[in-house]
Assembly symmetry: C2
Homo-oligomer: 518 residues x 2
């Protein structure tokens, strides 16, 4: 067996443990009887511990060294973009990062995340930030210790770089900050312009639509997207997610509200977008670290593109409106594509991130990105967080937060010490905007295809440019090869401005050239 | 941490791996998309390998030695029946047995089982024993090598002892052979006597019963048995089974036939019986080797008792008949308890084990038990197996096997080298007969309770005598403490004779005193 094959063999086994853990997590959120939770937590903890020990063991390092030497020995024959070379590079990077964290700290972080989650859930139910504050402080303390393990790593130039890298690998904080500053300025101006336009009706969103009918609609839509019963599942859950258990086994989840049907439809398109990324991976990458979507931002770009650019686009509304009308009947029986398009794209600043529209969503993220950096750096005390949150909601979104449950306590992430995760949501929107601009150029007939319900050409374009590469290339490399440009905010805000001009029937102007001038 | 606790900690982790593997296996048979099979097989193989390596590692032996020394040091304070003492004893025994098998042979057996299963499925579909014969020969060869690893173990006095012990621990082949000889003689005589009686109608078994109605019936019945939504699941599958994933998480599975409703009802009661055993374990035994049902025979006794003694008993037919009549309507709308009782207990010799009635079932098992011993010992050549099978079916059951698919190829077990498994099915019937005789003495009002649908007293009796002990005691010890007697065939055949006398309306006589005289 070659050294590369020996390394692969070990990585296959780690992947097999991930397979089991993914399934256990999926089951916990979809199938498991309530009283099974304690034993499930123990099993998941053991799988994670065994996996971590196998990964950081010296044997992994020796296999990596031998594989790297074998590649070097191949001389000119070694393509730096080959699967083998990329596998060794990515695994080495993950290995070195994982080895820097003492097992005791990793275990403390895992325990704190679990305890913090319980405390957060109780505090949110009581809308009492002060009850959660000590847990948040503890999570920040552990997070700073985690950061310290990496500060002499030349890849990182600030504390937040270390954290962001766990979710958005190889994306510097400074780059995100610059993108977000441009995004915030553009969105604030756009939202103000929309607010000055005549309001549009969101009545269709709140019409009654029986859940059985919603399920039929969603089955049709995800079928058009590429869901097939022989390699996918769709089940109900409380907080929807998508994952691939293994090759040929992608699972998406959903939730339904009879009085708010967009949740089921757009949630399904979102999760199916994630699923298509995982389903589109090249088989040769499976069971290795290359065999999953690259950064969370790239992953989110896929879900957002399908949910928003396709699902809330005018062209596909031509497909959706008559099916909604037929399946929902009642108040929706005369729904047409224009009314659907208008309603699902209305802009409405509000408290809750996960319910935000495409324009205000980004502001929710920029706020969290800036506050969590200040928390990690110690520039903002935990006790000052609710006021800072509420101030920012007022100045950016113009909403007055009434209680912590609808404000600073609304999201789960900080309770699990997941600092650095939030930015990936907005990065996903930006990347989706760039890919969308490019695919419209590459496939001139795209709008006509979408209006016909023919989603295969778009899916195949995404598969070819993004999906099949898994984690072989960085997000920056993937974007460069797919669009010829680095990550940017302008394509997304231009897309939004064009769409909202049509929704509101007013000219919201061309993309600003940057800077703060109007 | 005490040495006992250190040992427990390691065993907990092995149990956590079993938890993950059980879930993966359940999912594979109930939920997994078809194309997920190859990756699932890899994940299961890796979990099994890691589990095996952790278990047979020298560290396990050192922890066992230290724990045993700690128990010895406790002197008189050490109760040999304590959880700790039994845990060390059982783990030591499993450890010593597992250490005797070279990893290479274990891997070869696993691979042969997998390959053999494919070959068997194809051969059965073509009803072609000769296509399967080389795989069966290879499985036998590996099985003999497995046996050789254990032949100097003083616990075993013949090759088959080694195999049987994997399924029915600490039960000697000679004891099973004596029990089965008595069982066979009794059953052959009983079946002959029944054949001479006026036939009874099985018409109700084949009446149409819509599957939705069957599901409602089964939900009511398993609810009476103890199924609760917070700790159990029931799903559809091809080959039903029951397992406990972990504490508070018991899963049973089922299949349905609109034209043969007993499959869904009695299959569910059978699997729920298995589930009650697992659900009734003492919490202190969970996540250890003591934390599962003792032998497969004891496990099968629980499923058979609920399926046959309760479900096909005259008392519970009083509950079942009106519910079947109400839910099925049509041809079953005038079903009464007597007609139900008669139909579900009719005796009908036939080819297929899994469809056999209570009286003929045992003969299917005795035949397999004797043939597989002869195969392992080399007294019977693989090429001679179909003829030996067919001869025995003719002489014992009076049926003429028409093709291998309905004969020697009907069961999956030998394709997976699971020699020694079959006897546990019939041992389960015998044990069920003994427990049933005893619980009728202990709870004089049992029949009245069953006729009222009050199944809790029976369940609690079984929990107290059997379920809560897990694997802490051997089957022989459990039977002795529950019934005051060693395992025997007579209670089961007496139960059958009494029941069938009522079904056929003739006196099938008292239990024979043993021997071959009538």
């Amino acid at each position: 067996m070659s050294h590369i094959d020996a390394l692969r063999e070990r990585l296959y086994q780690l992947s097999d443990l991930d397979h089991a853990a993914s399934l256990a997590s999926w089951d916990q959120q979809t199938m498991m009887p309530a009283r099974g939770g304690a034993a499930r937590a123990e099993s998941l903890a053991t799988l994670a511990r065994i996996r971590h020990e196998m990964f950081v063991a010296g044997e992994t390092g020796r296999l990596l060294d031998a594989a790297a030497a074998q590649l070097d020995g191949a001389g000119d024959a070694a393509d730096p973009d080959s699967d083998d070379a990329r596998l060794v590079w990515l695994t080495r990077r993950d290995y070195d990062k994982a080895r820097r964290v003492p097992s005791a700290l990793a275990a403390e972080l895992a325990r704190a995340a679990s305890v913090g989650h319980e405390a957060w859930a109780a505090a949110r139910a009581a809308s009492d930030f002060r009850a959660f504050a000590p847990y948040l402080s503890h999570n920040l303390e552990l997070t700073r210790r985690y950061v310290e393990c990496h500060l002499d790593d030349p890849d990182f130039s600030c504390a937040y770089d270390v954290l962001l890298d766990d979710y958005e690998p190889r994306m510097p904080t400074a780059q995100v900050a610059a993108l977000f500053e441009e995004l915030r300025t553009d969105l604030v101006a756009l939202i103000a312009a929309v607010a000055a336009a005549p309001p549009v009706s969101e009545t269709p969103l709140h019409a009654r639509f029986a859940i059985d009918g919603q399920r039929r609609l969603v089955a049709e839509v995800v079928g058009m997207m590429g869901f097939t019963a022989d390699a996918w599942r769709m089940d109900d859950t409380v907080h929807p997610f998508a994952l691939r258990i293994g090759s040929g086994d992608v699972r998406i989840t959903n939730r339904w509200d009879e009085g708010y049907w967009p949740m089921g439809l757009y949630g399904s398109m979102h999760e199916c977008g994630h699923g298509l990324y995982e389903a589109g991976l090249a088989p040769s990458l499976m069971r290795t670290p290359l065999g999953s979507g690259e950064s969370l931002g790239m992953h989110e770009s896929q879900s957002r593109l399908w949910e928003n650019m396709v699902g809330r686009g005018r062209a596909f509304c031509t497909v959706l409106a008559p099916r909604i009308a037929a399946l929902a009947q009642g108040e929706l029986s005369d729904l047409d594509a224009d009314r659907l398009f208008t309603a699902v794209n209305r802009v409405k600043p509000d408290f809750i991130r996960v319910e935000a529209d495409e324009a205000t969503y980004g502001l929710h993220i920029v706020l969290r990105f800036e506050l969590e950096q200040a928390l990690v750096d110690g520039r903002l005390a935990v006790s000052e967080l609710p006021e800072a949150w509420n101030d920012r909601m007022r100045s950016d979104l113009g909403v007055q937060v009434t209680d912590d449950a609808h404000g600073v306590l609304q999201d789960v992430h900080w309770s699990g010490a997941s600092f650095g995760y939030f930015p990936t949501y907005a990065l996903g929107n930006l990347i989706a905007g760039q890919l969308w601009a490019r695919v419209r150029e590459d496939i001139p007939e795209l709008e006509a295809q979408l209006a016909d319900g023919d989603l295969a050409p778009l899916r195949e374009w995404l598969r070819d440019r993004i999906h099949r590469h898994g984690s072989k290339f960085t997000t920056a490399e993937l974007l460069q090869s797919a669009t010829g440009a680095p990550i940017a905010a302008a394509p997304y805000t231009a897309y939004l401005r064009e769409k909202l001009s049509r929704v509101y029937g007013v000219d919201l102007g061309p993309r600003r050239a940057g800077g703060n001038g109007a």
